[in-house]
C-alpha cells in the first residue's frame, strides 16, 4: 500500500502534473473560460481580457524576477515596444495579425539585448536601474522618431482580423487572448521542466553553485531577460489590440510597479501564482470600489477624489505586506491551506 506521494522515475519529477485532480480542475477552468462569453456581458469580457493580458505580462516578468531572481523596473518599456510594433505593422505596413503578433515579441526580445548585455554581466541590482533608464529612453525615442512612430499623435489600429475573423470585437478578441494566454502559460511551464528552467532557478538560489554545475551565468541570465521581454512584448501587442490606440501615455512607469505587485502577490517564481496575482489585482479596483460603496457616502467621496492614490497605496501595501508575511504569495497561502487539510487532524 502506498503511504505517501512518491516519484518513482525522473520523468515523474519533471512532469507538468501527476495528479488527476489537478488535471481535472485545470480542464474545468479552461472549459469555464471557453464558456464565459455566454454568460458575461461585454464589460465583463473586456475585464477578463484585460486580466488575461496582465497574466501574459506577469508570467513573462515572473520568469525573470521570480524564477531567475533579477529585478526589472522597466517592463513598461517593453510593453510599449510590443504595442507599438504591433500597431505600426498593422496600421502602416499592412502586415497580417498572424505575423505582427509574434513580431512584436521578437522586436521586444531583440531590443532587450541592448539593456541586458551591459547590465547582466554584473552581479547585483544593476538591471533594475538600467531597465528603468531604458523605459525612459524608449519613451523618448517614440516621441522623437516621428517618421516611424507618428511621435506624440499615437497610432490608431485598423480593425485587425485573424483567419477572416474581425478581432476588434469583444468576443473574438477574448478568444484570441485566451488562446495566446494558454500558449504562453504552457510554454513557460515547459521551460521550467527543461535544463534552461532549472538553470534559471539555480541562478536565483545560488549563482556560485550554479556556475560550478556548469551554468553559464551571463548566457542564461540574458536568455531569461530576452524570453521575459518577448512575453511582455506579446502582452503589449494584445493590449494594443484591445485599446485600438497606442500612445506613449498608455505605458506609464506605474505599469512596471503594478506588474511587480502582481507577481509578489501571486507568489514569486510560481506560474500559477503569477496567474492568480494577475487576476486578483486586475479585479482589485472593482473590489475597492465595492468596498467603498458599502461603507456609505462619506467614504465614497474620499474614494472618488483619491481613487488613484488609494489604488497606488493598495499596490504598495500588497507588495510590502506579502514580502514581509507571505513571501510565497497567494499560491503559498493556498499550499498551506491544502497541506493543513490533507494532514488534518494531525496538521502542524
Amino acid at each position: 500500500m502506498r503511504t505517501g506521494h512518491f516519484k518513482e522515475s525522473y520523468g515523474e519529477l519533471v512532469a507538468l502534473t501527476d495528479s488527476s485532480v489537478t488535471r481535472a480542475w485545470v480542464g474545468l477552468l479552461v472549459v469555464a473560460l471557453l464558456l464565459l462569453p455566454l454568460v458575461a456581458g461585454n464589460y465583463g469580457l473586456s475585464l477578463a481580457t484585460a486580466a488575461m493580458i496582465t497574466v501574459v505580462g506577469a508570467v513573462g516578468l515572473n520568469l525573470l524576477t521570480g524564477m531567475t531572481g533579477l529585478i526589472s523596473v522597466g517592463q513598461s518599456g517593453f510593453l510599449a515596444i510590443g504595442a507599438y510594433t504591433n500597431a505600426l505593422l498593422l496600421a502602416d505596413y499592412k502586415w497580417p495579425l498572424l505575423a505582427s503578433l509574434p513580431a512584436s515579441g521578437i522586436v521586444a526580445g531583440v531590443l532587450s539585448l541592448l539593456v541586458g548585455v551591459p547590465s547582466l554581466r554584473l552581479k547585483g541590482l544593476y538591471l533594475a536601474i538600467t531597465t528603468l533608464a531604458f523605459a525612459f529612453i524608449v519613451n523618448h525615442v517614440i516621441l522623437y522618431a516621428e517618421g516611424l512612430t507618428h511621435g506624440p499623435n499615437g497610432v490608431f489600429l485598423p480593425n485587425a482580423s485573424l483567419l477572416g475573423i474581425d478581432v476588434s470585437r469583444d468576443r473574438p478578441l477574448y478568444f484570441l487572448v485566451l488562446a495566446v494566454t494558454i500558449l504562453v502559460v504552457l510554454a513557460v511551464l515547459n521551460i521550467k521542466r527543461t535544463r534552461i528552467g532549472r538553470a534559471f532557478l539555480a541562478i536565483r538560489d545560488h549563482d556560485i553553485a550554479a556556475r560550478v554545475m556548469g551554468v553559464d551565468l551571463v548566457r542564461y541570465k540574458l536568455l531569461a531577460f530576452v524570453i521575459s521581454s518577448f512575453l511582455v512584448g506579446i502582452a503589449g501587442a494584445l493590449l494594443s489590440l484591445q485599446i485600438r490606440f497606442v500612445n506613449v501615455d498608455v505605458f506609464g512607469l506605474i505599469l512596471s510597479i503594478e506588474a511587480l505587485a502582481v507577481i509578489i502577490l501571486g507568489g514569486l517564481g510560481s506560474t500559477a501564482g503569477a496567474i492568480l496575482g494577475a487576476v486578483f489585482l486586475s479585479m482589485l479596483p472593482e473590489l475597492i470600489r465595492i468596498a467603498f460603496s458599502t461603507f456609505g457616502s462619506t467614504q465614497s467621496v474620499t474614494y472618488t477624489t483619491y481613487v488613484y492614490e488609494i489604488r497606488g497605496i493598495a499596490y504598495g501595501v500588497v507588495i510590502v505586506v506579502f514580502l514581509r508575511f507571505k513571501p510565497d504569495g497567494l499560491i503559498g497561502l493556498w499550499r498551506d491551506v491544502r497541506r493543513y487539510w490533507t494532514n488534518w487532524p494531525l496538521a502542524y
Binding site: G69, I71, V73, V115, P118, S119, L120, R121, L122, K123, G124, L125, Y126, A128, I129, T130, L132, A133, F134, F136, I137, H140, L143, Y144, D207, R211, L217, V218, K221, I257, L260, A261, I264, Y306, Y308, E309, I310, G312, I313, Y315, G316, V317, V318, I319, V320, L323, R324, P327
Partner: protein, 290 residues
C-alpha cells in the same frame, strides 16, 4: 563663452540637487547594501512637511531647516522601523522590492494629504537675483550649491571621525565581522535611514524653492540614479560629484544638441558607465563580473 559659462552654472545648480538626492541613496546603500527606491518620495514628503511648517510659522531658511530636519529624521526612523527592520536578514532583492512598495505608498499618501496642485514655496529665501561676475543666480540656487558642499563636508567628517560613522563603514565593509566586533547592525541601519532622510529634507526644500513643489517631485529620485551610478553607488562624496557632473552634462547636452536630450542624457550615461567602469568614479571595486 558667456553662453558656456551660463550653461555650466545652470548645470551646477541642477547638479547640486541631483548630488544631494544621490547622497541620500548612497548613504543607505553603503550601510545596508540596498538601493532605496523610495528616496525620491522621501525628498518629496519632507519638502511638503517643510511647506506646511513654513505655512504655520514664518521662518527664515536656516530655522526652517533646523525644524524640518529633525522631523525628517523621525520620519526616516519610523519608516525604517516599520518597513525595513522586519525584513532584516531577507535577501537584498526582497528589501529592494519593499522600498518600491514603500515608494508607491508615500506617493499616494502625499497627494492625499496635500492635494495634487503644484505649490509655490519660497522656503524663507528671497527672490532677488544675485549676480556673481557675469552670472545671475537666485539665492535658492546658490544655497543649493552651498548646502551640497556643507553636506559633503559633514559626510566626510562623520564617516571618518565619529564612532557611528566608523561603525557604519565597518558594516559596509563586512556586516558579519562588524556584528562580531559588537557593532549593532540594526542601529547602524536605523541611523543610515534617519540621516538619509535628513539629507532628503535639505534636498527637497531647496529643490522645491527652485522648481516649485508638486506631487511629481518623487521623479527626481529616479533622475538622480545616473549621479549615483557615476559616483559609484556606495560613495557619498562620489554621489555629490557625480550629481554635479550629470547636471552639467545634461545642461550642455540640451544647450548644444537640444532635442530634449537633457531628459535622457543621464540615462545614456548610466548605460555607458556600466559598460566601461561599473564601479563608477569613486565606488568600491568589488563589483563582480559574472
Amino acid at each position: 563663452m558667456d553662453f558656456l559659462l551660463l550653461l555650466i552654472s545652470a548645470g551646477l545648480v541642477s547638479g547640486a540637487a541631483y548630488g544631494m538626492i544621490a547622497m541620500g541613496f548612497a548613504l543607505i546603500y553603503k550601510a545596508t547594501g540596498v538601493v532605496n527606491f523610495a528616496q525620491g518620495e522621501l525628498v518629496m514628503l519632507t519638502a511638503y512637511v517643510a511647506f506646511s511648517i513654513a505655512g504655520a510659522v514664518d521662518l527664515g531658511f536656516w530655522s526652517l531647516l533646523a525644524v524640518t530636519v529633525p522631523i525628517a529624521m523621525a520620519i526616516g526612523l519610523t519608516l525604517e522601523r516599520i518597513f525595513i527592520r522586519p525584513m532584516l536578514g531577507e535577501p537584498a532583492f526582497a528589501i529592494v522590492m519593499v522600498t518600491i512598495g514603500l515608494a508607491v505608498i508615500l506617493r499616494g499618501v502625499t497627494i492625499m494629504i496635500w492635494g495634487p496642485d503644484p505649490l509655490d514655496f519660497a522656503a524663507g529665501l528671497s527672490r532677488e537675483v544675485i549676480t556673481l561676475g557675469p552670472i545671475p543666480f537666485y539665492p535658492a540656487q546658490l544655497y543649493a550649491i552651498g548646502c551640497l558642499a556643507i553636506l559633503v563636508g559633514l559626510a566626510y567628517g562623520f564617516l571618518r571621525y565619529t564612532r557611528v560613522g566608523i561603525a557604519m563603514r565597518a558594516v559596509a565593509a563586512n556586516e558579519t565581522a562588524a556584528l562580531l566586533m559588537g557593532v549593532s547592525v540594526k542601529r547602524i541601519h536605523a541611523v543610515a535611514w534617519s540621516l538619509s532622510s535628513a539629507i532628503a529634507a535639505v534636498a527637497g526644500i531647496l529643490f522645491a524653492a527652485n522648481f516649485k513643489l508638486g506631487p511629481d517631485m518623487w521623479f527626481q529620485g529616479l533622475r538622480s540614479f545616473p549621479a549615483l551610478i557615476l559616483g559609484g553607488l556606495d560613495s557619498l562624496i562620489g554621489a555629490a560629484i557625480g550629481g554635479l557632473i550629470i547636471g552639467v552634462v545634461e545642461t550642455l547636452a540640451q544647450g548644444y544638441l537640444g532635442q530634449g536630450l537633457r531628459e535622457i542624457a543621464g540615462f545614456v550615461v548610466i548605460v555607458v558607465i556600466l559598460m566601461v567602469r561599473p564601479y563608477g568614479l569613486f565606488g568600491a571595486r568589488d563589483i563582480e563580473r559574472v
